[in-house]
Amino acid sequence: MISESYPKVYLYRRVVQAKLFIDNNYAEKIDLNNIADEAFFSKFHFIRLFKKIYRKTPHQYLKTVRIEKAMELLRANVAVSETCYEVGFESLGSFSALFKRIAGMSPSAYLLRQQQIKAHILKTPLDFIPNCFAEKKGWKEKQF
């Protein structure tokens, strides 16, 4: 039996549960006050602990998760407007602005770039697979 004795196990579990709640419900309207209410008596205490563990406030973390999920959807070739609502944004403007700030380019530029990369992989997989493995697989440069 594994013993689980480290300081503040209970507090850790509450904060981790809050983080997982954000991970699982980022697409919904999340009221971060509710999370704090459920986790601790004090919202201030909750935010401080969350930030200590994840280096972001719950709100900042939620925004990051939404943008990362948006990048996943765009990589899977989902349209920009659909992506925006899928990850819980209510306006395209605020989605695009935040996406650009985090990803360094607009959602549509990101989508286009991912499409180009995919086409490139399909056309010339050897650019992406180290040669030693491609050769073992019997793939030679001349086949492409």
């Binding site: 594994i2 997982l20 992406f128 697989k137």
Partner: protein, 137 residues
């Protein structure tokens, strides 16, 4: 002169299941996921803060690296938990431990203070084990 390590391979029993484990549970990022013939893909993932180190999730199948006999022997060894592939680092090991455990990751050792830092041990979906470490703050 060697300057860096760019790829390391982890031998896995099934790439689909490994994708779920390494990406959805551990939270690693997909670097390349390229088709490489029937039933095989070139799948590499990177730690979130170390995008330059690609971990290749290499299926133990006949034909790539292994003969039929070697593949069978390797599969047995991997699933028995013979191989330890390395150490993952995190900021807060107790939070990471609780999160991974909640996601169904099997730990063989909970976080424990050692002379070199705090360490826990877990297994991947194939049976490979890893150390999870946090440097003392």
């Amino acid at each position: 002169m060697i300057s860096k390590m760019s790829h390391v391979s982890v031998y896995v029993l099934n790439q689909d299941s490994a994708y779920d484990f390494y990406v959805n549970k551990l939270g690693l990022k997909v670097h390349t996921d390229a088709p490489m013939g029937p039933g095989m893909r070139w799948l590499t993932v990177t730690p979130p803060e170390q995008p330059e180190l690609e971990i290749t999730l290499m299926p133990v199948t006949e034909g790539m690296v292994f003969t039929k006999e070697s593949a069978a022997a390797m599969k047995e060894l991997v699933s028995k938990g013979t191989f330890g592939f390395g150490v993952f680092e995190c900021d807060d090991i107790y939070a990471t431990y609780e999160e991974l455990k909640a996601k169904g990751v099997e730990f063989t050792k909970p976080p424990k203070k050692e002379f070199y830092g705090i360490e826990a041990l877990f297994k991947d979906d194939s049976g490979n084990w890893f150390s999870l470490g946090q440097k003392e703050k």
